[in-house]
């Protein structure tokens, strides 16, 4: 494991009115691992992902991705720096085909100009060919290559989730955030998903995932972070975290102490 963590967040705080959704959270994610964030409903998991990916900015703190400070940077700039994500509720581009969905993200690092597009010159054709092959590669990884030309909205639910992952991969991320990737999937589909996540890890992508299904998480994660009421209450290897009394309490009760 390399010394510098790929994600290094310090004192991340997010308030919604009077509610403190994230309270001074520190998070380190070492390079090349699968790390999970778990916690009861409303513990701030998705809020943390939003803060990291720029979808909804934190009010205070410092977030470094691969050494770059990204606090309050716009989401597309964060994506270009190598951090991208999928969503808890599916957000595919319904009016584009499957391959076009992926091409949107595959174009991330291919500069182009209106002049090249309008004249359809050699450079434009070359960059389109590059985007096309990157997009097909990403579809191959999640196993959607044979549906490339279908309308994205015609895909079944589980495949739409895979499409989101393919789209995220196409921007060649260093870090991939997955927000409840198995939500709404049946057992077989979840198993395929786990295999895909393992493959991505082996290809060198760091994965940070939020998951409700704790059992699913424990199997694939190298490290687990537990949030409760916007605070980090535990962190470590899955087996350690499972035995932690604070975690057991957060999941099983004695809530009256917080009320």
């Amino acid at each position: 494991m390399t010394s510098e963590p790929i994600i290094a967040a310090r004192g991340v705080t997010r308030r919604f009115g009077g509610l403190v959704a994230l309270d001074n959270v520190d998070l380190d994610v070492p390079c090349g691992i699968v790390q999970a964030i778990i916690g009861p409903n409303g513990s701030g998991k998705t809020t943390l992902l939003n803060a990291l990916s720029g979808a909804s900015h934190a009010d205070a703190g410092s977030i470094r991705i691969g050494g770059n400070e990204i606090f309050r940077l716009k989401a597309h700039r964060i994506a270009r720096l190598g951090l991208t994500r999928t969503f808890q509720t599916i957000r595919i581009f319904e009016n584009l085909s499957v391959i076009e969905n992926v091409k949107v993200a595959a174009a991330c690092h291919t500069p182009t100009s209106l002049f090249n597009i309008v004249t359809s010159n050699a450079r434009q054709q070359q960059s389109e060919a590059e985007i096309d092959s990157n997009a097909r590669e990403a579809l191959q990884i999640v196993g959607l290559a044979d549906r490339a030309n279908d309308n994205a909205k015609q895909l079944p639910y589980a495949q739409q989730r895979l499409l989101e992952i393919a789209r995220a991969l196409a921007s060649k991320p260093k870090v991939l955030l997955l927000d409840e990737p198995a939500a709404g999937m049946n057992m077989t589909e979840s198993m395929t998903l786990l295999a895909t996540i393992a493959r991505l890890k082996n290809s060198g992508i760091t994965i940070l995932l939020v998951e409700h299904n704790v059992r699913l998480v424990m199997g694939i994660s190298d490290r687990v972070t537990v949030l409760d009421f916007g605070k980090k209450i535990a962190e470590g290897a899955p087996s350690e975290v499972q035995r932690n009394p604070l975690v057991i309490e957060a999941y099983l009760g004695r809530r009256h102490r917080h009320a």
Binding site: K74, A75, A79, T84, R91, A107, C108, I117, V118
Partner: protein, 310 residues
């Protein structure tokens, strides 16, 4: 295989003046073609990038008035398309830069306001714009002394321009930019996470749309030779939006079909007198109910059925 219907359409479009010798019909078609170019421009903003825009008629007007004023002042015609483009690009940036963060009703209100400002400017700046009575005897298209004479030659010039406008639109659609526009419409958050600068994308769509309208305005002024504020009013803006919706949002063919159908229909129904508006309105509602994707979706639906049957 796929290019057959397109070739047939081109042949039909070129043959029209041979069949319809009536100058009035050609004149009507010329206006329909100009509308089609403006609607193609609106399609970038509303059809693809998903931003409501009631300012398109104002950009159309800005292009027309710039050309009329410049050529009447004695500038060579060839300068007028460039001048029109400069004016509409500046105007679209002035409107777009502060408003592209707005959405839905707010953006609609702002663009309606913009259209009204442009209209009032034209109406009240009488010494230059001719006020409500408009500008007459605008010099025609002329490049180094050569230019189209008569309705039919203008028709060919406009058809060629429309063909060019369609080509550029389809190139943009199948490029990084076109996909980014549609992605922005479908989910701004997901587009951003995919590395798309959504504000820049919307602004570009807005600007390209304005350039289409500006160039159509330029050709309107120099081929119809008479302009007045009525042609570029808020009513016109709503009509352009109706053409886009009836034709089929996001479809290049739909834009052309919608513009041509809704330009010709009121004239074809004129014999009904006051009743034509009723029929016209019912027709528009019928299209929206029967084919919510617009006239263009009827074609793709029947293709789909044929594909499934075969």
């Amino acid at each position: 295989m796929k290019s057959w219907p397109i070739l047939a359409l081109i042949a039909a479009a070129l043959a029209v003046p041979g069949v319809a010798r009536d100058g009035y019909i050609i004149q009507l078609l010329n206006i329909a073609i100009l509308n089609a170019i403006v609607v193609l421009g609106l399609n970038f903003v509303t059809g693809w990038a998903g931003q409501i825009n009631f300012g398109q008629a104002a950009f159309y007007g800005l292009g027309a008035y710039t050309t009329a004023i410049a050529t009447k002042a004695g500038l060579p015609w060839i300068a007028s398309p460039f001048l029109s483009v400069v004016v509409v690009v500046v105007a679209s940036l002035m409107l777009g830069l502060p408003t592209m963060r707005l959405r839905t009703y707010y953006l609609a209100m702002t663009t309606i306001g913009f259209g009204e400002i442009v209209r009032l400017m034209i109406v009240h700046w009488e010494p230059v714009t001719g006020g409500t009575s408009g500008l007459r005897a605008i010099p025609g298209v002329s490049v180094f002394g050569f230019g189209p004479q008569g309705q039919v030659q203008h028709y060919y010039l406009l058809i060629a321009t429309l063909g060019f406008a369609i080509l550029i639109a389809s190139r943009i659609r199948h490029s990084v930019l076109g996909r980014a526009m549609i992605a922005t419409r479908d989910s701004e958050i997901a587009a951003e996470q995919s590395g798309v600068d959504t504000i820049r994308t919307k602004l570009l769509a807005f600007m390209i749309g304005a350039v289409y309208a500006g160039l159509a305005g330029c050709l309107y002024a120099s081929s119809i030779r008479f302009i007045s504020p009525d042609s570029f009013s808020g009513t016109q803006a709503v009509l352009l939006m109706t053409m886009l919706i009836v034709g089929g949002m996001g479809s290049i063919a739909g834009c052309v079909v919608g513009a041509v159908a809704l330009t010709i229909l009121p004239e074809a129904l004129r014999f009904l007198g006051q009743w034509y508006l009723v029929l016209y309105g019912l027709g528009v509602i019928a299209v929206i109910v029967v084919a919510p994707g617009g006239l263009a979706s009827l074609v793709s639906l029947s293709q789909l059925r044929r594909a499934n049957a075969g």
